[in-house]
């Protein structure tokens, strides 16, 4: 690519213009990266919810705990297949900024209710039998380089130990995978019993219940049965399908999502106009130079390619910087948001999409000036100048 130097010099000849156009594209792809990540994180929850799984939370707020006794009560109701429960541990590893999503669960029933979690039988047996054993999701294990048998101390930013301190020592009993790539494996499961007996708050309470129905058709019926059952008690419940639960949560953010999506669209559209216009002007300014290149023997199609290469270079320069910034922001936010949005990852899919849009942006903004350069007639260009 002998012409690269020429393309590069053309791109960088006006520093201020380069800065402004790069910045505009940077912003567009920053927004794109962040919003697409958010969107896919929101969607992952809905897509992965099983259709016969119900979630029971406290009616007042899903952050309020429920009495442990509810587990057995729900079990006896008609149409209920399996029941399990979970508590939010609020974990982090070594430093509060290293959030580790940790749930205290009843191992056997939890694995029954979540059949999409796959563990080697030997590891699973070890975990069932080890009070301080934990099951670590594959994504999390990879990120922290944790292996089976490792001793890991997890701290809670909510609970304290009866013996003092907020740090629990655990042993990695096993690693769980998803039966599909979409299954989130970015969290840790610990024994509820061990947690409940060692934490200082006391009270046998669970964060929420998860149950499966014998038939998805019974979902509504079972849900209202549960809520009726606990109506007028101290702890009223709100039962919904996992799908609805996830959707309801998402819909709160969803409207914002729509607005953000509009913003992204507008940002892209504006940038398309701004960058496209800048490219047209930039090339028009060079009418004389292009005529000179053609006179020297540069073929029109070669100049056409040079102009397109320049606009693509610009798109990728701003785009990759923006995507990089989005990655940094998303990774930072993922720690904070791990509890609500476990799948907040700027993955290859989004990167590929972004790269596609960068190419598209480069081609679209460069096309008109490239065609103008292609068609430019040497004689008229010189007589005009």
């Amino acid at each position: 690519m002998k012409d690269f130097y020429l393309i590069y010099k053309n791109l960088t000849r006006k520093k201020m213009r380069l800065f402004l156009t790069t910045f505009a594209i940077f912003i567009a792809f920053l927004i794109f990266g962040a919003v697409m990540t958010l969107r896919s994180a929101l969607n992952a929850g809905v897509e992965m919810s099983a259709d016969n799984r119900l979630v029971v939370v406290h009616k007042t707020s899903f952050t309020n705990p429920l009495p442990y006794a509810y587990v057995n009560k729900v079990k006896t109701l008609d149409g209920v297949k399996d029941v399990t429960h979970a508590n939010w541990f609020g974990g982090y590893y070594q430093e509060p900024r290293n959030q580790v999503v940790t749930l205290a669960v009843d191992p056997e029933t939890y694995m029954t209710v979540y059949p999409e979690l796959v563990v080697e039988p030997a590891q699973l047996a070890t975990w069932f039998a080890t009070q301080s054993g934990i099951l670590v999701g594959e994504r999390l294990a990879k990120a922290n380089n944790w292996q089976v048998g490792d001793q890991i101390a997890l701290s809670s930013n909510i609970f304290s130990r009866k013996t003092g301190g907020q740090t629990w020592d655990f042993t990695v009993s096993g690693i769980f995978k998803g039966n599909e790539a979409k299954v989130d494996t970015g969290y840790v499961l610990i024994h509820y019993k061990y947690f409940n007996e060692t934490q200082s708050w006391g009270g046998d309470s669970v964060g929420w219940l998860i149950l499966t129905t014998t038939d998805a058709a019974l979902n509504e019926q079972v849900a209202s049965q549960i809520d009726t059952n606990f109506a007028n008690s101290n702890n009223e419940t709100d039962t919904s399908t996992e799908q609805a639960f996830n959707k309801a949560f998402i819909e709160q953010i969803g409207n914002i999502g729509l607005i953000i999506f509009g913003v992204v669209f507008m940002a892209f559209f504006t940038i398309l106009i701004v960058v496209g216009n800048t490219m047209v002007l930039a090339i028009r300014e060079r009418t004389n130079e292009i005529a000179v290149l053609k006179t020297l023997g540069f073929e029109s199609k070669r100049i056409f390619k040079m102009v397109l290469a320049e606009s693509c270079l610009l798109a990728f320069l701003g785009g990759l910087l923006g995507l990089g910034a989005a990655y940094v922001i998303v990774t930072g936010a993922a720690e904070q948001m791990a509890r609500f949005l476990p799948n907040l990852v700027l993955d290859e899919n989004i990167v590929l999409q972004a790269l596609g849009y960068m190419l598209l942006l480069g081609l679209v903004t460069g096309m008109a000036p490239a065609i103008a350069a292609l068609r430019l007639n040497i004689v008229t260009a010189f007589s005009r100048g």
């Binding site: 002998k2 012409d3 130097y5 020429l6 010099k9 053309n10 960088t12 000849r13 004389n288 130079e289 000179v292 290149l293 053609k294 006179t295 020297l296 023997g297 540069f298 073929e299 029109s300 199609k301 040497i378 004689v379 010189f382």
Partner: protein, 232 residues
């Protein structure tokens, strides 16, 4: 056709069409340019000097008639073939230098070599030789904006000769320069003609510039005329 003739124009017509109007610049023009010639073309503005250079340089094509270069017709070549032909055979020198403002002297001179298969190091070597020829070895890294008009024109000459074309076309190469600088440029062209055997056609307004050429032709309203006729 004489083998000594580098260029031959036979019965060349050139007309421009603007809307419904057709302007005729040349009708039945004949001329030949000998190898090793240094020809000056003079004439009032609008007489067709630049148009003639464009035809010779393969930048424009005649409406009718034949143009041959070294025995080969160039008037009917495709745009892309003409571009290759220009790159191989013609060096261009313009009135306003037409250097790329974002490239330094060496990179400007290198431009025509990007159209060859030469390696980067071979290109550098040829650029250095060309800059040395025009006496600007010490200015290789200078930008056009950092150079005087005369220096810029010398860079342009280096660019025109770097790929060693047989034929140089100069459109008022000294039109923008003071007398002394103009004479330096003209001496350089003379050197290229005499020492390096370049065939040169130079358009000029300036009678003292034409004196550097080996002979002068006069163009008026698209026809070659005798100098006396022009004066009259």
């Amino acid at each position: 056709m004489s083998s000594e003739n580098l260029f031959e124009l036979n019965n060349v017509a050139k007309r421009f069409t603007k809307g419904k109007e057709t302007i005729s610049i040349f009708e039945g023009l004949n001329m030949h340019i000998k190898k090793g010639d240094f020809m000056a073309i003079m004439g009032p503005s609008g007489s067709g000097k630049t148009t003639l250079l464009n035809l010779l340089g393969g930048v424009d094509q005649p409406t009718s008639g034949e143009i041959t270069f070294a025995g080969q017709r160039i008037d009917n070549l495709s745009e892309s073939k003409l571009a290759k032909w220009r790159a191989n055979n013609i060096g261009f020198i313009f009135q306003f230098y037409n250097l790329m403002p974002m490239l330094n002297a060496a990179k400007n001179v290198e431009l025509p070599l990007l159209l060859t298969n030469l390696s980067s190091s071979e290109r550098k070597k040829q650029v250095a030789t060309a800059l040395q020829l025009v006496g600007l070895s010490d200015r290789a890294k200078h930008m056009p904006s950092e150079m005087s008009g005369g220096q810029q024109q010398r860079v342009a000459i280096a660019r025109a000769v770097v790929s060693d074309p047989t034929f140089l076309l100069c459109d008022e190469p000294t039109g923008d320069l003071d007398r002394q600088t103009a004479d330096e440029i003209l001496e350089m062209l003379q050197l290229l003609n005499r020492q390096f055997g370049k065939t040169i056609v130079m358009v000029t307004h300036d009678p003292s510039a034409a004196k550097f050429a080996s002979h002068t032709v006069h163009l008026n309203k698209g026809k070659f005329v005798k100098a006396e006729e022009l004066m009259a």
